[in-house]
């Protein structure tokens, strides 16, 4: 279920898929949060959910945590959400945003080595 590899975030092989189909709120967002927490910053997670509330909640979660919602796509019975676990209001994305905690950090986090967590 979890693919690994030292490649860029746009590479499909680097995207973790979390299957939350059939789960009701707040579990889809919880599974997404857990997957992101287990991965290095900058990872991308693909969440599959059937709960209609997830459409609003994933977007709200992304906004509250300062993440990026790259894509929302209807795939028949479920919806797929592509979320990137990196700050959308970081120094690179929004110069007027809150000051960065460590000003010496590079603007975008490069893909870090895999931690290879167990299956969610």
């Amino acid at each position: 279920m979890i693919a690994t590899g030292a490649r860029g975030i746009d590479d499909d092989a680097d995207v973790v898929t979390v299957d939350a189909r059939g789960l009701r709120c707040p579990l889809p967002v919880l599974r997404l949060a857990q997957a992101l927490a287990q991965r290095p910053e900058g990872s991308t997670v693909r969440l599959l959910a059937t709960d209609p509330a997830a459409r609003t909640d994933v977007a709200a979660f992304v906004r509250m945590r300062g993440l990026l919602l790259l894509d929302t796509r209807d795939e028949g019975e479920h919806t797929a959400y592509l979320v990137r676990g990196v700050s959308a209001t970081g120094p690179a994305a929004a110069p007027g945003g809150p000051p960065a905690a460590s000003p010496g950090m590079p603007p975008a986090a490069p893909p870090a080595p895999r931690a290879t967590p167990g299956g969610a």
Binding site: R24, C25, P26, L27, V29, L30, A33, Q34, D51, P52, A53, R55, T56, D57, A59, A60, F61, R63, M64, R65
Partner: protein, 364 residues
């Protein structure tokens, strides 16, 4: 209320002494409420509840405007009685343009530019807007929205059922709707105000009931109870609202201090007594239960607590989190003398309750 049942049981249309007494009591109840709302008593009709007043009020405007068109415009955060009526009309006509839901911003306030644009679409006959939202408390820009309606000669129904008696009574409307529950009156009393200047006509056969606007006689004891509630709370209204506003502010501050929390709705331009908070990765139903276990009664707008799977249409329209919500309605002090202590207890219990529920959720 017991006294009201004792006094108002008779049929007010009969000429016997009990009937005349019941008629006089109904007239008095109507006079108290009409006076409170700043309208003539002939403009005020009693309905069997707020949603029923919304439906009746809207149907009369639509019917009277049927030669202008049949299109209805409403904000996306209106009461479901309005939204369901509009969606039903569009569905039956197989014409999605028959009803337009105007979007709101992140605090739940209607987008005035989109509102004006929606009113400008051909065939627009009637518009509906709440004075404030009962879930998140945000007040709507009624004066501006009404002005846009007037420019186009479109009648506006204003739904004041969330805050009548707690906040200023709206003045900019063609039809006004309220619910006695908002000012601590009994359930089952809707207030429908149709001033003489408004073009309004009930579809269907002529009736003599409630100024020709209803076909159901009001329950006189309930109408008396509503008038009694209004009169009892009128004197303390401004001071009560000021204190309720401060209590809600303490809840907002306490909730915002909890990590991953959003306090939704406008922080300032809002009803004095309502607030909704969203706690990320918490379960709304579990939170309501956890607070109840600690002796505090709140409501939830989360999808998990409703019978349908659909999330709150208000929170969804705002783009707010639809899980992990609690809605707090601060009652009037006259019906809940311990409200200050109750809010203090809620504020004290909230961080622990949220942490407990988040721990439960995380273990699933």
């Amino acid at each position: 209320m017991a006294a009201a049942w004792e006094a108002g049981w008779a049929d007010p249309r009969r000429l016997h002494a009990e009937g005349r007494r019941a008629r006089r009591l109904l007239d008095e109840a109507r006079a108290v409420l009409a006076d409170g709302l700043g309208v003539g008593p002939e403009s005020l009709s009693f309905t069997p509840g707020g949603p029923s007043a919304l439906r009746t009020g809207l149907e009369g405007l639509v019917y009277a405007a049927r030669r202008t068109g049949s299109r209805l415009v409403a904000s996306a955060v209106e009461h479901s009685a309005i939204l369901l009526l509009g969606r039903h009309a569009a569905s039956v006509a197989d014409d999605p343009d028959r009803f337009e839901e105007v979007p709101v911003d992140g605090v739940g306030r209607v987008d005035l530019a989109a509102w004006a644009q929606a009113l400008g679409a051909p065939g627009t006959a009637v518009a509906a807007l709440q004075s404030a939202n009962g879930e998140v408390g945000t007040r709507q820009p009624l004066a501006e929205a009404y002005e846009r309606c007037r420019e186009r000669g479109i009648p506006l129904l204003v739904d004041a059922s969330a805050g009548l008696g707690r906040d200023d009574t709206p003045e900019a409307y063609d039809v006004l709707v309220g619910d006695a529950r908002s000012f601590a009156g009994p359930a089952g009393v809707g207030l429908l105000v149709v001033p003489p200047r408004t073009r309004w006509r009930r579809p269907g056969p002529h009736t003599e009931v409630e100024g020709g606007r209803m076909d159901i006689e009001p329950l006189i004891p309930l109408a008396l109870g509503a008038a009694e509630a209004w009169a009892r709370t009128a004197a303390a209204r401004a001071e009560d609202a000021r204190a309720a506003r401060a209590l809600v502010e303490t809840i907002r501050v306490a909730a915002a201090a909890i990590p991953d929390t959003e306090v939704v709705g406008d922080p300032v331009d809002r009803l004095p007594h309502v607030v909704t908070c969203s706690f990320l990765l918490a379960d709304g139903e579990a939170l309501v239960t956890e607070l109840d276990r600690r002796g505090i009664a709140v409501a939830s707008g989360s999808a998990c607590t409703s019978s349908t799977l659909e999330p709150s249409h208000v929170l969804a329209a705002m783009g707010a989190l639809t899980h992990g919500n609690i809605r707090v309605t601060v009652p009037m002090e006259s019906v809940c003398p311990s409200r200050t202590e109750d809010v203090a207890a809620l504020v004290a219990a909230l961080p622990g309750a949220v942490a407990a529920v988040r721990a439960q959720v995380a273990s699933r």
